[in-house]
């Protein structure tokens, strides 16, 4: 296992590459989720306000 993690002495280059890839892949999934959530809450708030005004 240690040998695997050492990457033949290239650990300092291989693992950051994979870590960066992981971070970017996750970030691109999370960002649209947050964007969608924000929009949905905004519209929901607006709708609720509109409904309250009608009453």
């Amino acid at each position: 296992m240690n040998e695997f993690l050492a990457m033949g002495g290239y650990a300092a280059y291989v693992w950051p590459s994979y870590a960066l890839a992981f971070i970017l892949l996750v970030a691109n999934i999370v960002a649209p989720m947050l964007q969608r959530k924000k929009t949905v809450t905004e519209i929901a708030r607006k709708l609720r306000r509109a409904r309250n005004e009608q009453k």
Binding site: Y10, Y13, Y18, L20, A27, P32, M33, Q35, I43
Partner: protein, 250 residues
């Protein structure tokens, strides 16, 4: 009208697109994860270290697919730009900006991993190698598109402006690439090319191809997620969005 055209036409309706893409995303996501795990297994464990570059060659399984994606996404973006300019289809307009952010991420990833790979191979973090330089210019093109989109207030106008920019870029990319290659052969400093023309062994080719398929599936999932988010934001005053929101917050 054949089946495909009818489907394409239907996809032009925001509501229908929103529903169908919602069902497609999990499929893309799961196939992405499965191929990713398989690709990582092949790349990290099965494939042998390179006889020249040792274990550092494993960076290639990220770097090369990311570089492929950066170009693939640009072409997809330009094609959707062309479709939205010619037929004024709203859905493809949204695809242009949704692709730009993902494409910029992959371009950055290709550059950063290229630099991390270059350090042990060339001894420096950055070499003005033809591929890296082209990739850098591609990143600038992506960033220009994103900057222009965020600078224009009216998102409908912004989408069409960046469609034109993407098309201008796609015409220029082959010229830029060719000129950078020309420039590089004149100023050749590095003798080691990272992905030389030598025939690659199958044990290395398999993880490379699996990873590139995996990244494409990922792009499919992410671009749809982004497109849906953009769509909700843009159509926020329409009936169908209100229905979706009510369904969501119930």
């Amino acid at each position: 009208m054949n089946v495909f055209m009818r489907w394409f036409h239907k996809m032009g309706s925001p509501k229908y697109f929103y529903e169908v893409s919602g069902k497609m995303i999990p499929w893309f996501m799961w196939t992405f994860i499965i191929t990713l795990v398989y690709g990582l297994y092949q790349g990290m464990i099965v494939s042998p270290p390179d006889y020249q570059q040792g274990e550092s060659v494993r960076i290639m399984y990220i770097h090369v697919p990311a570089a492929w994606m950066s170009m693939f996404i640009y072409v997809v973006m330009a094609v959707s730009g062309l479709i939205s300019l010619v037929w004024r289809i709203k859905m493809t307009e949204i695809f242009v900006i949704s692709s730009a952010t993902v494409g910029a991420s992959f371009t950055f990833l290709a550059l950063a991993t290229g630099s991390l790979w270059g350090k042990p191979m060339w001894g420096t973090w950055w070499v003005w190698d033809a591929r890296l330089t082209s990739e850098l210019i591609l990143l600038f093109l992506y960033l220009g598109i994103i900057a222009l989109h965020s600078a224009i207030e009216d998102k409908r106008v912004a989408a069409r402006a960046i469609s034109i920019l993407a098309l201008v870029g796609v015409v220029n990319i082959p010229i830029i690439h060719y000129s950078v290659e020309w420039w590089n052969t004149l100023h050749q400093t590095s003798s080691v090319t990272m992905t030389g023309k030598k025939a690659m062994s199958t044990s290395m080719l398999i993880p490379l191809l699996v990873m590139s398929v995996s990244f494409k599936l990922y792009y499919g999932a992410v671009v749809l997620m982004r497109a849906r988010a953009e769509l909700l934001e843009r159509d926020r005053n329409t009936r169908w969005v209100e229905e979706v929101v009510q369904e969501d917050t119930k």
